[in-house]
């Protein structure tokens, strides 16, 4: 998490932290495992009052950040979500809200109002099931038909797809990409809840079978959405890595405390050098993860040209070392760290799911290799 916060950011962080501690302590999370939504009615709208849903939305649309850096503010909230393993459609709704606000126009005002108020949930439909799409591959197709558009394709996993009232769907249109806002109740939409490793976060598979939509459903320029979609991916990765880092931070904190408290052969675990050295490695991974998650958020604000690079770097690093860190926390706890009653797995789950979705570390390493090659070719072309 960032080192220097404004007073307003401290306040946002503090109210979020206290609310989550009150409403979704880990004992409650364990009970929510069988809840189809993963959270109780009212949880999300109260969170919205704290600002969870409006940080990427322009003031003219009823949003607003507490600093000049909405994504940075949201990363702080996501970090607390990670530390609390908190439920709710944080990533998915915010990415859609930000996209709609940037697209602007009268049509989005009402929708954004409901999203910002936490009365409505939107789901970001970007990922497609393997093997067809692979990472970043878009096979869903939308084509103009008369004055309407017809959308077909499958999106999965869609975060909180079964709780969403609307979907922002990325599809192929001719040579380019198009994004459409699809009401969940549209004819031809089939939502199938998925099982997941996370205790409270929910995912679904959403199939669009020749869904007919009015032209007003198109968000942005049809066929020209690639840059906007890339921006959404960056935002999603910033939120995702911030949350993972929060979960890592908490898992590590629990484990340091355990090692100091727990005695074996008359000595605290923390006095064993082999364990101390592993804690040193974990601390290094953790601090580098903090640093990279923050750098990605800062780049998204200050250096759009490097934002995609840093988001992929952060995801590749946190996605690899994060799960290893969590697993080592489990190992250092021993048997109790593998029980459902212990809190540790809540963070392990959040980190493991984060590592696998929106591109594995390997996917992002390959993306970065492409980038390195492109830069090299550009330098060669210049010379």
């Amino acid at each position: 998490m960032k080192l220097d916060l404004t007073a307003d950011q401290e306040l946002l962080l503090d109210t979020t932290r206290r609310y989550l501690a009150d409403v979704v302590p880990t004992a409650v999370l364990r009970k929510l495992r069988d809840d189809p939504d993963g959270y109780e009615p009212g949880y999300w709208s109260t969170g919205a009052e704290l600002g969870w849903t409006s940080l990427l939305v322009a003031e003219e649309h009823g949003g607003g950040s507490v600093s000049d850096d909405g994504l940075g503010d949201l990363a702080l909230v996501a970090h607390e979500f990670g530390r609390a393993a908190a439920p709710g459609p944080l990533l998915t709704t915010n990415v859609v809200a930000g996209a709609l606000s940037r697209a602007g126009g009268d049509a989005v005002a009402e929708t954004l109002g409901a999203l910002c108020a936490g009365e409505s949930v939107a789901a970001w439909c970007w990922s497609e099931p393997r093997p067809k799409g692979g990472f970043g591959g878009i096979e869903a197709v939308a084509e103009p038909a008369g004055g309407d558009w017809v959308l077909s394709g499958v999106k999965s996993p869609v975060e909180h797809g079964a709780q969403a009232d609307l979907f922002l769907v990325t599809a192929r249109s001719g040579d380019g990409l198009v994004q459409l806002l699809v009401p969940a109740a549209s004819a031809g939409v089939t939502v199938t809840p998925l099982k997941t490793l996370d205790v409270t976060r929910r995912f679904a598979r959403v199939a669009f079978d020749a869904v007919r939509l009015p032209a007003a459903a198109v968000v942005g320029e049809p066929g020209g959405a690639a840059a906007e979609v890339e921006r959404q991916l960056v935002e999603a990765l910033v939120i995702q890595t911030a949350e993972m880092v929060g979960a890592l931070d908490k898992a590590f904190e629990l484990t340091v405390a355990w090692a100091n408290d727990r005695y074996s052969f008359g000595r605290p675990l923390a006095s064993y050098q082999a364990l101390k050295h592993r804690f040193a490695d974990m601390k290094m991974w953790l601090e580098a993860s903090h640093a990279l998650a923050d750098a990605a958020a800062v780049a998204a604000r200050d250096e759009p040209a490097r934002a995609g690079e840093l988001a992929s770097v952060a995801k590749a690093y946190v996605g690899h070392y994060g799960p290893e860190l969590c697993q080592d926390c489990v190992q250092l706890h021993g048997g109790i760290g593998l029980t459902f009653e212990h809190d540790l797995h809540l963070y392990l789950r959040r980190v493991a799911v984060g590592a696998a979705l929106l591109g594995t570390p390997r996917d992002h390493r390959l993306r970065l290799a492409d980038l390195v090659e492109r830069r090299r070719d550009e330098r060669k072309a210049e010379a």
């Binding site: 998925l194 997941t196 727990r262 489990v330 190992q331 706890h333 048997g335 493991a352 799911v353 594995t360």
Partner: protein
Amino acid sequence: MSADVKPVDIEPVEEFRLRARRWLRENMPLAGPGYRRGLTTLPDEEELAEVAEERRLQRLLWDGGFAGLCFPTEYGGQGLTQAHADAFNKELAGYRYPFRFQIPTIVPCAAVLLEFGTHEQKLAHIPAILRGDELWMQFLSEPGAGSDLAGSRTSAVRQGDDWVLNGSKIWTTGAWWSDWGLCLARTNWDVPKHRGLSVFMLPIHQPGIEISRIEMLNGSKEFCQEFLTDVVVPDSDRIGAVDDGWTVATRWLFHERSIHSSPLTLRPAVASGGHESYGEGGASLLELAEVAGRLDDPGARELVGEAHVLKAAQRELDRRVQATIAGRKGSDQLVSLSRLMQGVVSTRLTTIGYELAGADAAAWADDDEAVGARGVNYLTRQVACVGGGTTEMARNAIAERVLGMPRELALDRGVPFREVRSGSAGGAAARG
């Protein structure tokens, strides 16, 4: 143990093999494609049905004269050699067998009984085990003691011809469907910890023992914790000398670490030249890569190859360790190498599975459980490095007992146990 004794009039291995082959074909049910061994998360009634079925299978072996191949005949065994056991394991491939009896009933419990029990104790229990009547569990780990097994705080106090036990044990697999427990307890608090322990055997289902099932993060409830309150054990059920329980426990742990190579247990062999517990490294991961659409991806193929290498390395290391010990060319402590390797290889294979499955192992449809299971396995990855003694303890043993490096400072060494500091952490143990 009878594995070392080779009387001249013993049945030749090849004759035995043919006899076993015939008998298995006529008597033993086939495993079939859907057959799964090992701890799964079955509903309780199904679990109990499987336990009953395995008792029946063990009884089948007993009736057929194939129970306890390397156990002495005087306790109901067959008095055969490791070579016979190997032959039987090869023939057993493809059949069902009483999996739940192998661990921990036969090894380490029966093995400990065989080594330290009196003639009467063995007569009372070994045939009962081989007949399928008794399933045993280890009352060894304790909440609060973690890897420090000798730091047991379960107390046994002498009262006339009996002992009265109080305390708690944890991480006993399936205590709720088992019959007897092998229990390490403290009989003397005024001497250093290793010198005040004794070993007892006791029926699990009795009024003084409360069994609580622990839910693991994958939903399994096989592990139990037991609370012992004034449990009375006759002195005749003590195994080994009073206060000399650590001598018994040391061998107990050796047997536990030797599970994959003991001549006492059944382990059907598989085609690839190893025991089935090794499997064929890359095969299931290859299927997974195919499901994930990555069969043409060299990155995925390299992971499949790596898995194959690691499985083979584990198998060959185990063989070398066993041959070294059997040939008396190295200490028993070498089994710690096998234990460490098992943990390292298993966690890596689980991780490879999660990597190959990608997003589908994090969120999956009902009809895709096989891929989703890769995710759940990943969450419980460290079981392989915790259960049965942590890999940390194995590394200590290798450095100190195999390489002879200086021992870790133990602040409880030479100190009366009641003065040893135990820290504030409660909860369960660092040993699954």
